[in-house]
Symmetry: D3
Subunit: 332 residues, 6 copies
């Protein structure tokens, strides 16, 4: 009774300073891999679902290592392509502490993924027997061919009757190939059922500028009849290591709010939103709106205690946190 | 004016993931050694007492390494035996963080210790000039010969007039050799003077099911006239890294309560109870009931700031914490 | 429009246990370098100022490594001397956690620096085109020649019209060469414009024993007409990893107080006072009293999030913290 | 045109001392996974073949981690079973150097694999569309059910027309469940086509005691008409870090000898024989006898330069070594 | 009496697998920095010369870290520029062992250095009081502006009367901006006095295809009257860790040969040629042809024992090796 | 039937660069402990003998850590004293490779050991039931009180009838307290039975300058009738990592030569001579001259494969090497 979920998007290599080193003090880097969509796939695999990630890596050993990372985490890689063009996308990470913020330096332009071509994939084979497609607004921001790849995937998924989710995820420092989000995103959103978006995303990608999430959702759903639900997380940053986190879900005029969690001594906040997305997909597949939202936000909280980009918590662990059981116990 | 304290019991090798790695992410393991009773011995050595630990290790280099660990920490190993049978008992440890619990996977069956034989030890030589014997409920739970070894030690210690303490420490997933705690524990407790036990221990080992610690103590002392004092710790787990800790001591109808400490950013909570036990033994040897309890709970708090299974704090450090002196200062 | 700041003093090698190891558990040491005055120089270099540090190292590879550390951090080392006499000064560091204090064991006697001779330096060349000299009370405490070196530097700097700052920094376990602080310090202070001192420093170095900082400042300024401003930090230690920090500045009868910051999960508190000093120098060069103080205390807070002895925060980072912007955000 | 190769057998976790530490000096362990048959599967996956490994792991996170290791290395794990019985098999490894030998301490009894049951696998599904089955003499040495599992696999593979290879691999310290190799091995060998065996294996498993490999092969093939080829490696150990290695292949009376390689500064010799086996399988699938043997021995040589139990060299790398191309070049 | 040597060229960050890990096994990377010309500068600084490196880094913390690496190693960075365009050039390194070759994967396109502009530098200030300029064939291979930058540097250095050396260093996988080496290199070589080149370089950059180094040198010197000396190293690769190394120097028809060294257990061969170049520059500044060559080759041998891209040996150490003194002694 | 051997002398902390780092590249140090005499004690403990080391450490946690190191390695520390004066003696170590030599920088002056006082020890208790005393020429070279301590120990051991061995071990950079070796050593040697000395030692300590070991031994034995045997090792250094090693023993005019071993890929040569000494003591206690010498030199060879200052090989391992058994085998 597993569902099959397809994710598409770039995977980057993270090079992180060790200990509490700042970049200036770095002498070695810890290697992780991550990407907004692949993080969702890994988390869903940890939730016992069947996942497959569609991406492109450079055709050398570093690209192969990235692909192996997905495989090790139970994500099917039979549709990963290796390209003799481009490079491995990277980002450097300096972990913050106390009042010092975490920093990310991206080094992702001209990656092999930016040369991805929709026509290189056998979409019918990919979507046959699949239940869900997940994409994010990062992919169409990378290059014209990536945008085309993204819209093709959505179209084909729609033909096969999949549920489609999209995390709008507006990134100011991408979108450098001549198009703006407003040129591209509306068409993608017009074929998507579940949306993750905050006020900044509505404004930059759809030109919908509102003061409240509820209002923005209302207008967006008026405009895009296909949209069923819109969700987002709410983060209050006290310091780099102390945050408060909760979630909101909009469904046909109703707004659901989750419990708020206090997060102290955060281990790694990267991928917290992707953990929420994966939790929401799992939740909506198996639960009602309120329970799905509580599951999603608890999943995101657990992610903050885990090193690396992807949430490695199980359904059982997330549900225990939702029920408030055993928190902080030593499990023998 | 040192006292000589004898501890008996198994020592396991702890294999712990590094950083904040989950088991799934482990690439190397940090090696520690620990055992409920040996942890008590090491802490008492750090308190300046003379200690000797009685145990069995496999007769190979890993077993020798475990024995050296005791020796390095000033525990006499002249009565450690090396056996050509069985294996080194292990446990794997994944350290929790935030709302994610710590996990332990035991791999201890068929250890060399489980083949321990009471008759292989020269008890008269061991207990001559000794003051105290400490045992826990883990030993009789391991095998029939280990249970026999434990009861023999208690009997012989009694003959030599030692004070005897026992940490009941009921472990559900041991006791697999055909006996139940209720078959074995009453006799052991009947010859013990100082007991560490919580409600679950009273119920499972003595069949005494009560709603309060005080009541359970009362009934237990009625039944076992030999018991002089019963103590336990009280832990409130907010998260894996934030707990509150205090202690209780029962003595002939009187109940003593310690100060409660707030523990944030816990480094390693394993062995916190053993640190309490060691503190209590030291306290009862040199102080009155209330002071002994305060010493024991402060010792346990300091243990939570130290990596590894055993408390490495000195008497001076514990007493400073009891007095609230210099906490968090930089000692030059 | 950079200013040129000269610092003088010893640089020690820090050998720190790794992880949360106590000294007893140490198996390897992390190497850092630091010294109260060099820490100020490095922080000022990170603030974009031109700095030069005057010191002596032993003439071997370890001494060279220490010098390279300054160079790497943009401190001019053209006046560092290498001496064939003495040794590299060291200190061992055990990082505290929770209620367990941090510990420092110094091993600095007979260091090459203790043989420093004022006449080996070309003071006119050093101070030409320079704006500021910074010294601390550690230097005159080391040896008679070091005290002479310190007073010579102050005299020469005065002749060249530099602003002179001094961190009184009374260290009880130095001053072992036959002189007391009261023999030496008054003359040095009599030629200094900006002073960092707390009640203990006033008492031990100037014989001024008062109950309040304000009073002590008043009396001191009466006695030493040259002093323009006196500042200090106020630290409340809750535990080794949780402190509260604020600052005070006295200027001609006016007392300025900074915001108080709550510091949780402190990474490394060593050098927190030096970071304050560097922040104050920068502040007083470019800002008014209140703003300078706020800058200094925010700089010190950021230092607590950084490994090693020196503050590696930029002006921009400090000013953002003063304005309360972006705290705990993930900076992409 | 990939072939599909099935391997069966236990996978152990290797806990290796770091640096050149002896066991007595160990403070942390590096984690690897390996097993004679799984090593063959991984190497064949690196050679571009399709592989699937059949085994049993304990049903907890450590078992899951072991399974992920296979998956990451491109071995299909859809037939890996997780059992609630038994433990993860382990071995401890101290790496030798110079005249000091490497040491292995096994800790594998009562592993989950020892409880493997032939009937729990759907053999028809496993062998459908498969080309080759590989087993070793370690499996029948573990337990009665493991021996049964091994013979069942061989029988079923035979029914499906697979080529079957077996590495006799006599292990003196296994075979502790009441059977001897001579009770079990002849039947398994009687259904195997390609054999790896040395003089000790012939003697202990088949009772064939001869002075030369050729003679032993002749007698063995007389007795077991099914056997097509027999091979073995020849290792001359100068020291723990310097060996010479060559291979021999017997086919119907003809003896083929490979080139002999001098191996200096060996990185990790564990799995050298498994790398030979994988090379031989690849070689016999795609090449003639002499070329297959040269490929196999070159593969084994490359394994000695790689950390961990499995060979991670590609076909291209092995063939370059066979041709003597580019050895020791810096490949940009 | 120090000489001042100017080097120009890109500096890359090296990300190297640790231990003997292959790329597939990488879990963390060690960070080094290196570039053919900067390696020469660092080595010359270790030889006590004054050096300055001209390059461009991206204007962020990683670029600043690279610049600090030069500064720490005593290379003047006052002419390093930070550009808001492009990225940090990288290369990934897998260290070979035994018969397994080392591998390098470059990721350097679109680096900030590729946007370097000759006119951004104040050449007169740079070359005033300088003695030597060193460039390599890597710079003109990177981009049109880099080629222009290189030729400008050479022209300006010529005007200031510097000695100019160039390491031809033909790199097949660069030269992707529309020009070939033959378009660019002749003009650069026509203004250079000391050349490092092998047969492949002569052929690809000058179209001079000869069978011997001597012949190629003769023809080259005929064509380029400015050239005074040509040198190269001769490496015989037995394996990744065992090489033999010697050098050759051509001067006006005379050929000098160095001693040949056997190098076993090579630590890091990257930068071996740059160490030779630095040794040759030092040698030619202070010694005759034969001694210069012996110095250069001994320097290169020592580099092979040092981690990282640059040679960190002193003049004294190199000269001791030339004289065969103290080799392999423990220096107390 | 164990023998009890007493060793006296200073123990230093070794701070060693990691990997192949030079001092300039050091970022962390590995901690070891060692001393010529304590190394002998540890090795003899590994040979199953009873040992006790007499020394002085500073009375703080680092001193305690050093003492624990002895204890862990089975050396009795009941006569270790902790002094409130002086510091922990240190040495820094840069490991050589290939043609690059290893380097040691000592930092041992004013150590607590230099304040050792003979009268602080209860010599009768120490030597009662003991068989052997071992000292080296390092102790009398440290300070006047250390020389006095050494001569007292020898006198007292003589009174108790112990066998006394001394490793002359002339160290040029010690002997800085006003005495020369010739003032002190003759008296010590005059009461010693077994001597380790090379030509340099004979010359500097006894004024006996000869061209051959045999001659020097002859003259020395003429002069010191008490001497029974003199031995030394012969090392041929090809490079830092390749040496040849053999031993010589002189007994009453007879000269015994050991087998010569080729040592490639040396792991750690520090303590090679001490391992020889320990092997010789064990050999002379249990074997004849030739066998004792072969045992001693094989022990020294094995030490070169072990990290740290002390030999951790067992009697069984050494004897296997003497017999040429199993060298380079994988011991399962």
């Amino acid at each position: 009774m597993k569902k099959r979920i397809i994710t598409i998007g770039e995977v980057l290599m993270r090079l992180a300073t060790t200990g509490h080193n700042r970049f200036f003090q770095a002498d070695d880097f810890k290697v992780h891999f991550g990407g907004a969509e692949a993080n969702v796939a890994i988390s869903l695999s940890c939730f016992g679902q069947q996942t497959s990630h569609i991406t492109v890596f450079p055709d050398h050993d570093i690209g192969k290592t990235a692909s192996n990372y997905l495989k090790k985490n139970d994500v099917d890689t039979s549709n990963v392509k290796f390209l003799d063009k481009g490079r491995m996308g990277l980002y450097f990470h300096e972990k913050g502490a106390m009042q010092r913020s975490s920093k990310i330096i991206y080094d992702r332009f001209n990656s092999s993924f930016s040369f991805i071509e929709a026509m290189d994939f056998d979409w019918d084979a990919i979507f046959r027997d699949s239940d869900w497609l997940h994409w994010t607004g990062i992919t169409p921001a990378i290059s014209a061919t990536a945008a085309k790849f993204c819209s093709t995937a959505i179209m084909k998924a729609k033909e096969h009757g999949l549920t489609i989710s999209g995390d709008i995820n507006y990134r100011r420092n991408l979108w450098q190939y001549g198009k703006t989000p407003k040129d591209i995103m509306p068409e993608l959103i017009a074929n998507t059922h579940i949306i993750i978006a905050g006020l900044i995303d509505f404004e930059n990608c759809l030109g919908i500028k509102k003061n409240s999430f509820e209002e923005a959702c209302y207008v967006t759903c008026e405009k895009f009849a296909n949209i069923q639900k819109i969700a987002t997380t709410r983060r209050k940053s006290v310091s780099a290591s102390a945050n408060r986190l909760s979630g909101v879900l909009y469904d046909n005029g109703d707004v659901y709010l989750s419990k708020e969690y206090e997060m102290l001594q955060i281990v790694d906040r990267i991928g917290g939103g992707d953990a929420f997305m994966a939790g929401l997909i799992y939740g909506l597949l198996y639960k009602g709106n309120q329970d799905a939202l509580e599951f999603a936000i608890a999943a995101s909280v657990l992610k903050h205690s885990i090193s690396g980009d992807a949430n490695m918590a199980s359904v059982e662990e997330v549900e225990k946190l939702v029920r408030g059981e055993n928190i902080g116990r030593l499990l023998r």
